[in-house]
Amino acid sequence: MSIWFPRLASETSLRTRPVEGPFALIHRSANADHLHCLNPLAERHGLRRGMSLADARAICPDLATRPADLVAEARSLTTLRRWAGRYAPMVAVSGSDGLIADITGVAHLFGGEAEVRGDLHARLAQAGLSVTSAIAGSLGAAHALARHGGGIIAEGALQAGIEHLPVSALRIEHATAEALARVGLARIGDLIAQPRAPLARRFGIALIQRLDQILGHQPEPVSADPDPPHFGVRMTLPDPIGLTSDVMAGLARLLDRLCTTLALHRRGARRLRLELRRVDRGTVQVEIGLARAMRDPARILALFAKGVEEINAGFGIDALRLFAAITEPMAPEQIGHGAQVKTEDALADLVSRLGNRIGFDRVLRLAPADSLIPERSFQMVSAAWSEPVAAPPWSGPPRPITLFPPEPVTQVSGHPPARFRWRRMRLTTLRAQGPERIAPEWWFDDPAWRSGLRDYWRIETQEGPRLWLFHTPQTPSWCVQGEFA
């Protein structure tokens, strides 16, 4: 059975925000707006699909338009595909606005093929979707008939049922269809009567293949994509619960089920959300992040403990839903061997625990960056989303162990300064090493580096501190930016 939604895009758009009068979705391609999908009223005004928007406005000035959303269209078709699972076990998407369902051995459950079609049309009409459908012995025939009026081709009458259809219904290229029309072969029936060998030689083997498929000589199974796995589990309770231990017990059962599903698909969760429905229809959520992909129920349960303790159960909770919002591929691992694995696991648990309280953007690692500017020679990256990277060995002049935003020094005398004041301390230079000139990165406008070049000096003071000072020759001043060990 082939199902075709001739106005899927415009109807899904109009479902949420209805418009009176002629309406069209426009799609921008090749630098011009074209009509992508119209409602029946717009078609009655003489507008056609693919027409440019300027022409359409000239014909019908009060046309209401919206930009087409191809992603939303594909999503609504996927939803319809899931819904169509009620008619057949195998339903596949065909094109951008059609479905194909293998209803072999299913029709008698509805009372016959006509009843299946009737049921489908009635339900979709209720949903406000215009639809044409066709049932035939081969996939190609159903597809062709659905796009040219629809109907049912009885078993054994396949050839008679499709003879009157135009050759363009064969799913062939536009150029081939035009070439066929030029030689006077307009109907599929004309094509069937022709000898096959000259046809194949003249129009290519693809045409013969399509012809065989539509007549059922060449099998063409319905290849339905497998549904993406769904990592959500729920549990409803006969009586409301309110104790933390009860919620945790329920959560433990959900986690066992979720982790089994995750293990089946070789994935691990990175972010989990627990939704608790209260008796008064309110919902409370507990969300946790994990430092790395994980599917160990006991360890995940421990991370939920704090969040579950803080929720307000109200008059009780009667439903739990656990959902893995973000998952990552995770290969099966050998467990219980090696201290290394245990250490990594324990460290990941620590990161998860810390991140769930203070935020994952505050659990950081130092990652080397490719820049000579001291502030940008490293990056603070989230430890949960990065691996430790060994810094390349530093071969330049020595660098301080700590860095801070530049602090100006005052009462400077000499160059390099022999005496200066910094942080209310009067310091006298004992030894000075330098200068090391660092130029600002001209391709990156950093407000801190607007003062231009910097000459860095390592200044050892008699009072003890070994400081990293810099001088900006273009706007003369001295600042401290780091402290050596």
Binding site: K342, T343, E344, A346, L347, D349, L350, V351, R353, L354, R357, I358, R362, V363, L364, R365, L366, A367, P368, P374, S377, F378, M380, A383, P388, V389, A390, A391, P393, W394, P398, R399, P400, I401, T402, L403, F404, P405, L430, R431, E460, T461, Q462, E463, G464, P465, R466, G482, E483, F484, A485
Partner: protein, 195 residues
Amino acid sequence: MKTLRDRPSSDSLALAKARVHEAEGPGRRAFAVYQGLRHPGPVVWVLPAHEPQRPLLAGLPSGLGERLMILTPKGETDLLWCVEEALRASPVALVIAEPQQPLSLTAGRRFQLAAEAGRTVGLMLIQEGQGSNATETRWHCAPLATTDSTLHSWSLNKNKSGTIGTLIAEWDVTSPHVHLVSQAGERDQLADPAR
């Protein structure tokens, strides 16, 4: 009785296992980096979010940067909580923290219990005089200015299970080795004549 002055060796710079220690003075961060080198394994450095002074990767000794994890909690309560959690985690080797307020006896005691539970070492970089009595040792650290540019004065002010004393260490950031220099002292008797 053995004192520090009798036998200066780098063992006297070792921090007792599963305990929390304190370091104060202007050279406390250098001391923390040195201790990070001594402890193989992950090192956690807890800084307040508003602290401008951050470790610079290029300046740290090689190998320490990739083992380092930096936590920047907002506020003192979160900071103390982070320290306790990190101390309780067994894979962590050393926890360095910079609390901004004086450590109470309760906090210090809780840290000790957490360090014992996780078999980790803690090092609190405190402002002068803001330590807790529960600490195992307290070091006063300051860089020394002499002819040598790698001298540190690391003096042990408080020690619950040993002696106190001052160590003059010659330590270059690039190497894990420290050379302890005997302190110059006044002789109580005349030196033997040179032969």
